[in-house]
């Protein structure tokens, strides 16, 4: 019996991976393509000035940048540094991993029997991201919430004066010893290639300023493979956890946790925090709990999961101070809990 259970668990694990693989692949290809072919600057120019509309707009940029939660922090950081209002950047940060075509399609694939989950996931994510973006817009001076480097950069480089010619505002220093140069650096994605924030940008060494199409495609491939590898590995771990819970956790515990309108949501919020599976494939993870957990709690996982992300915290800390991150996550968590609890008790 033990063996057959293990084998069932393995089958579950494999099926999650096989079903999720196409969406992951599509996600990394799109985000890599857009990274090199879309000019953020043009977007920045058409952004609405009204904070509420700005937050809403920011929440929907995901349709143009189908990035999952691993790609959105750098983009949000770039947006902030290009002088985009905070409401837009935060709306984008929270909603982009969910409000994009690939994630919506994947969610539909997993939950085509319950279309309400797909619709509500979009509506709730959009609402929560817009609300939080709007709330942050009341903070007139956002600098106390940003990391000093970014705050200083914004102070000394007001957006109007730093319009870059290329879409990439921060070029990366590739000289052998970038730290020997003056200026402030933040840790970007790659160690050893820190991103230079202040100082004179004209000194920045750009290795290949003009890329050919072939060169760009090469970069797209590199980027896509790197993301596929990292996110694929996280997906493997996530699927293993999902399968292990299904097979090993005592069924009565799961049933009693999953049936309670509040306990199910809290469990799923916790799982969403711990399991940092990519938003393009998290609906399949949630699906494995569909028979035992309340619909509201599945939604809580699908809405909150992409917003909070243990693996992304490090990167988010490169933009926000811990205090701001805490507010962000606490607000998002509470709103998710409120909305899904309401759904659990009154609708679903």
């Amino acid at each position: 019996m033990m063996i057959s259970q293990l084998n069932n668990g393995f089958t579950l694990f494999l099926s999650l991976l096989v079903e999720a693989m196409p969406f992951l692949l599509l996600g990394v290809l799109f985000s890599s393509l857009l990274l090199f072919f879309v000019e953020e600057r043009k977007l920045v120019d058409i952004m609405p000035k009204n904070p509420f509309l700005g937050a809403l707009f920011g929440s929907m940029i995901g349709f143009l940048f189908p990035v999952c939660e691993c790609g959105n922090v750098p983009v949000a950081r770039r947006l902030l540094m290009q002088g985009v209002p905070t409401s837009v950047a935060i709306g984008f940060l929270l909603a982009a991993p969910t409000i994009n075509p690939i994630v919506i399609w994947a969610t539909w694939t997993a939950f085509r029997d319950q279309p309400e989950i797909v619709v509500l996931r979009v509506v709730l994510s959009l609402s929560i991201a817009t609300i939080i973006g709007f709330v942050f817009s009341f903070q007139k001076d956002i600098t106390p919430y940003l990391q000093p480097q970014i705050a200083r950069y914004l102070k000394f480089n007001p957006p109007a004066q730093t319009e870059p010619k290329t879409p990439q505002l921060q070029e990366q220093v590739t000289t052998p010893s970038p730290l020997l140069q003056s200026g402030t650096y933040i840790l970007g994605g790659k160690a050893g290639i820190s991103t230079r924030l202040s100082g004179n940008f004209s000194q920045t060494v750009v290795k290949t300023p003009n890329r050919t199409l072939i060169g760009k495609l090469g970069l797209v491939l590199d980027n896509a493979i790197q993301e596929l590898r990292e996110l694929g590995a996280i997906m493997v771990l996530g699927s293993a956890i999902a399968a292990a819970i299904q097979v090993l956790a005592p069924r009565d515990v799961i049933l009693s946790l999953g049936a309670g309108p509040i306990s199910s949501i809290l469990t799923m919020l916790l799982l969403a925090t711990v399991v940092s599976i990519c938003s393009t494939v998290d609906s399949f993870f949630a699906l494995s709990f569909a028979s035992t957990f309340t619909s509201g709690s599945l939604l809580a996982f699908l809405v909150f999961g992409p917003m909070i992300d243990i693996k992304g915290v490090g990167l988010m800390l490169s933009v926000f101070k811990p205090k701001a991150l805490f507010y962000l996550f606490a607000l998002a968590g509470q709103l998710t809990l409120l909305f899904t609890l309401f759904l659990n008790l009154h609708i679903m």
Binding site: Q5, N8, L17, P22, P74, G188, G192, Q226, E230, A233
Partner: protein, 258 residues
């Protein structure tokens, strides 16, 4: 915690990029292997076969392009969007993890879920409502042409068991023994799959046997012919198949229903 590192700049190991190539290719090959050996239907709903197969070809193409790049020693571009990446794992770990999962996939064959999985659920759950709305619902088919799942779905729409009394039945499914049933009863069930194996759930009907159920051990596949009747099972009136003839059949090529 999160280490923001670049594999290439950290380790001058030239094998790492190749590990990447192999891991991605392995997944492409694994998925194609499942497709060609008819195992894919144990994992996912047939509606998504094309998607998964295209993805497998995509993975192989990516891995091929990358290996060309490596083979011709095109130097990796140092400013490849470095800031885009969150590298959670130390160099080589992520590729290894992907590769190990794929290799396990090659070694261990996916299994058809069996009655044990079904028994983890309550009998009322198995005999209760299906989660699926009847999408291809054909109520006007002749009773003896309905599949087991057709019956369960019809019952969902109009749950009064007496309405079906006397109708002819001929259905196939696997055997579940349940403690809550009398010894001359078993449950004939099939797993329903909507997306992938993660959401398979059993649906079935109780069968009243002319004899003891011991000669039909769990997981045996049966074709049962008989008539519908109503019986009191686990404290509730339920639509039950009164079996006239029972025939053991081999497990169907595609054991799941949709």
């Amino acid at each position: 915690m999160t280490s923001l590192r670049n594999a290439k700049s950290q380790t001058p190991n030239h094998l790492l990029p190749w590990l990447e190539v192999v891991a991605i290719a392995a997944w492409g090959v694994l998925i194609l292997k499942y497709w060609l050996t008819n195992k894919l239907n144990l994992l996912i709903h047939p509606d998504f076969f094309w998607l998964v197969i295209v993805a497998a070809i995509g993975l192989l193409t990516m891995s091929f392009c990358k290996s060309l790049q490596l083979w011709h020693k095109i130097p990796p571009d140092q400013i490849t969007s470095g800031e885009q990446h969150i590298n959670v794992f130390p160099p080589g770990w992520s590729s290894s993890l992907l590769l190990v999962a794929a290799v396990l996939g090659f070694i261990i064959s996916p299994q058809v879920f069996a009655s044990q999985t079904a028994l983890n659920r309550e009998v009322t759950e198995i005999l209760g409502a299906t989660r699926t709305q009847p999408q291809s619902f054909r109520a006007n088919t002749r009773p003896e042409e309905r599949t087991l799942i057709d019956w369960v779905r019809i019952l969902n729409v109009y749950p009064e068991p007496d309405a079906y009394t006397g109708q002819k039945v001929k259905v196939q499914g696997f055997v579940i023994h349940s403690q809550e049933l009398n010894l001359d009863h078993l449950i004939l069930a099939r797993f329903v799959i909507t997306c992938c194996a993660a959401d398979v759930y059993p649906a079935g009907l109780p069968v009243q046997l002319p004899t003891n159920r011991d000669q039909y051990p769990p997981d045996t596949w049966l074709e049962v012919e008989g008539q519908m009747t109503t019986a009191n099972i686990a404290g509730k009136r339920r639509l039950t198949i009164k079996a006239n003839s029972i025939r053991k059949i081999p497990q169907p090529k595609n054991p799941y229903s949709y």
